[in-house]
């Protein structure tokens, strides 16, 4: 495992921006936001978001609007009525139809300068590994730890920065992982927490959490600001409380133990 290293954002291509693109992103280029170089990095970057429901939807939307050059979304199944309290990429017209295809079509209407790829299922181990190698950042937004830990493994194996976003009720959590340098998801949860099929959730917290996940991805990809690597942010909207916790890395973690970073 010693030969695995964390990928640097400097490895991202930095294509030029057209005048139209500069005009589109005018409000997000400047002091305290993105540099032109950072915007170019976004254009050259690829992000994977899986899944694109309550949190992944707003996350993907934010990445597309910000100008991440290629956004890959993965989500299986058809949209049902109960999704519409939080899944912002859907609509009444999408009920009963495949989520991935329709969500991607909606995202494409938001920014003609980016490419959106749709995968109509949740990636298995092999596909997750392949996708991780194509991506510069992974946003994990599935409803269970099996998928989260699978994506975490793929991120660690490929050295790809990883953002885990999760929600329950009026609570949202974020964990940002820099493989080889900070705790990975498996360091935090050595035993997989139980699956809960019908969890309560309010759309407002889904959207807030998804947007914060996208913000972390944008910082990582562009080089702007300070990514919250190695930390958990828990937003308890019910009680109006936020908790930020520096996560402890497990040197014996079966996923990332022994891995080193280039930094």
């Amino acid at each position: 495992m010693e030969d695995r290293v964390s990928r640097e954002h400097s490895a991202i291509d930095v294509p030029d921006l057209t005048n139209e693109e500069l005009q589109r992103y005018d409000r997000q280029i400047g002091p305290g936001v993105l540099s032109v170089e950072g915007q170019r990095r976004l254009k050259g970057a690829t992000a994977l978001v899986t899944r694109v429901g309550g949190m992944g939807g707003p996350a993907a939307q934010s990445l597309v609007m910000a100008g991440v050059g290629r956004v890959i979304i993965a989500h299986g199944g058809e949209m049902i009525s109960a999704d519409l309290n939080r899944q912002v990429l859907g609509s009444e017209e999408v009920l009963g139809k495949p989520r991935a295809e329709h969500f991607a079509a909606y995202l494409r209407t938001m920014n003609r300068f980016v490419t959106v790829e749709a995968i109509d299922h949740e990636p298995d181990d092999r596909e997750a590994a392949e996708l991780a190698n194509r991506c510069d950042v992974i946003l994990a937004c599935p409803p269970n730890f099996t998928e989260r830990l699978r994506l975490n493994r793929a991120a660690v194996e490929s050295g790809t920065p990883f953002i885990d976003a999760a929600q329950w009720g009026m609570t949202g959590s974020l964990i940002v992982v820099r493989p080889g340098e900070t705790a990975c998801l498996q360091c935090v949860y050595p035993e997989e927490p139980p699956f809960e099929e019908f969890f309560p959730v309010l759309g407002a917290i889904s959207m807030a959490t998804g947007a914060l996940a996208a913000l972390e991805a944008i910082k990582i990809l562009s080089g702007a600001g300070t990514p919250q690597y190695g930390k958990m942010l828990m937003v308890d909207g019910f009680h109006g409380r936020t908790t930020s916790l520096e996560l402890r890395r497990d040197p014996n973690c079966p996923c990332c133990g022994g891995m080193v970073s280039t930094k």
């Binding site: 899944r51 429901g53 309550g54 949190m55 992944g56 937004c141 599935p142 409803p143 269970n144 730890f145 989260r148 976003a165 999760a166 929600q167 329950w168 009720g169 009026m170 609570t171 949202g172 959590s173 935090v188 949860y189 050595p190 035993e191 927490p193 139980p194 699956f195 809960e196 969890f199 959730v201 958990m232 828990m234 308890d236 019910f238 009680h239 409380r241 908790t243 916790l245 520096e246 996560l247 402890r248």
Partner: protein, 86 residues
């Protein structure tokens, strides 16, 4: 000695039955505090073993496996139950 406590994450609603702080004997440890919290929960209610344990901003593991620590007056103990919804 006073210890501020908070439960957040998946089980935040359980925090409503807990006091905002515990009173513990001098020299008490994290194990003592967690045992006291467990005793304050209503019958049948438990916090999940995967709950993260944070003492004074330090991540010490999960309820299923955490590093014991000496408590100091005014410390804050936060128990963060895992959330997985997507």
């Amino acid at each position: 000695m006073k210890l501020r406590i908070a439960v957040t994450g998946r089980s935040y609603h359980q925090a409503d039955v807990l006091p905002g702080e515990l009173t513990l004997a001098e020299g008490a440890t994290l194990v003592d505090a967690i045992r006291q919290i467990a005793g304050l929960l209503p019958d049948q209610q438990t916090l999940p073993p995967a709950c993260l344990v944070s003492l004074a901003g330090r991540h010490l593991g999960t309820l299923g496996s955490y590093e014991n620590a000496k408590l100091h007056d005014g410390d804050e103990l936060v128990l963060i139950a895992p959330v997985a919804g997507g």
